[in-house]
């Protein structure tokens, strides 16, 4: 699933449009289907609710990575590493504030 969405991203132009596929629900599709089979629908529903918070963290971190690379001229690896840290902070911050 991940490779299929990555292939779609490679096939399409312009680059900003192809980038949409970087946020494709590839991991979640496989995981949610497996979760429903193993743990049931209620369990998958709770996971999806948390995923909503993870998605908000994703938007924030991707937007910050873009700004760091475009305006601050930060190197790709440094910017994405910072973005991953930011995702953790946002996702767990939201989880702590809203779900815990």
């Amino acid at each position: 699933m991940v490779s299929a969405f990555a292939l779609l991203g490679e096939l399409l132009k312009p680059k900003s449009f192809a980038g949409l596929f970087g946020a494709a629900p590839s991991v979640s599709l496989a995981t949610l289907a497996l979760t429903v089979m193993k743990e049931g629908k209620s369990y998958a529903s709770i996971e999806a609710r948390s995923m909503l918070l993870g998605s908000i963290a994703f938007i924030v971190s991707a937007a910050v990575i873009t700004r760091l690379m475009m305006h601050r001229k930060m190197q790709v690896l440094a910017a994405t590493t910072f973005g991953i840290g930011l995702w953790f902070a946002c996702a767990f911050g939201l989880w702590y504030g809203l779900l815990r």
Binding site: F21, G22, T31, M51, S55, V76
Partner: protein
């Protein structure tokens, strides 16, 4: 801007570029499962929206763009970074679709058939991502149209302008040597 299908990107891709993303995706799927088992579905679910392939994709795009520009006679890391930034900006827009995907699954998976929920949620992800992208394009076009005297500094222009400067520097250096 028109959406096009271009197979040249796939032809120039190496097999390990897809394998790398496959491994990252598989790794996160396994990690999400383990996190859910250890800390419960509330924590495990967060990782379903983890930007797993983002760093790998951005790094690969940067590398490929730099190689392409180098072959064309340009120098510098700016085109690679700019191309990677545009791709990540697209991912940020796709993130809105991801939020809608999770919202649909959360609200409906208990009542609907699993396959139906996942298909509807995936379709909604694409439509929302596309709508946000279209809106961003429209706003960008309007902003440029209303500021005709101000340099727009779009990424495409930035890449080509800096590329041209680098190229002319190389040519001038070559002339000096001659």
């Amino acid at each position: 801007m028109k959406i096009k299908v271009d197979t040249s990107g796939v032809k120039s891709s190496k097999w390990y570029e897809f394998a790398l993303r496959f491994l990252f995706g598989g790794g996160v799927t396994a990690f999400a499962g383990l996190a859910a088992k250890r800390f419960g579905p509330e924590v495990g679910g967060l990782f379903l929206a983890f930007p797993a392939i983002l760093p790998a994709t951005a790094t690969l795009i940067k590398k490929r763009e730099e190689q392409k520009k180098e072959r064309a006679g340009y120098e510098g890391t700016e085109p690679g970074r700019a191309a990677a930034a545009v791709d990540v900006a697209g991912s940020a827009m796709g993130g809105f679709g991801l939020a809608v995907f999770s919202l649909i699954v959360w609200r409906n998976i208990r009542d609907w058939r699993t396959v139906v929920v996942l298909v509807v949620a995936t379709a909604a992800w694409f439509l929302v991502a596309l709508a946000v992208w279209e809106l961003r394009e429209k706003v960008g076009r309007q902003a440029r149209a209303h500021r005709p005297n101000v340099p727009t500094h779009t990424l495409r222009e930035q890449v080509s302008r800096e590329g041209l400067v680098n190229r002319s520097l190389r040519i001038n250096r070559g002339r000096k040597l001659d």
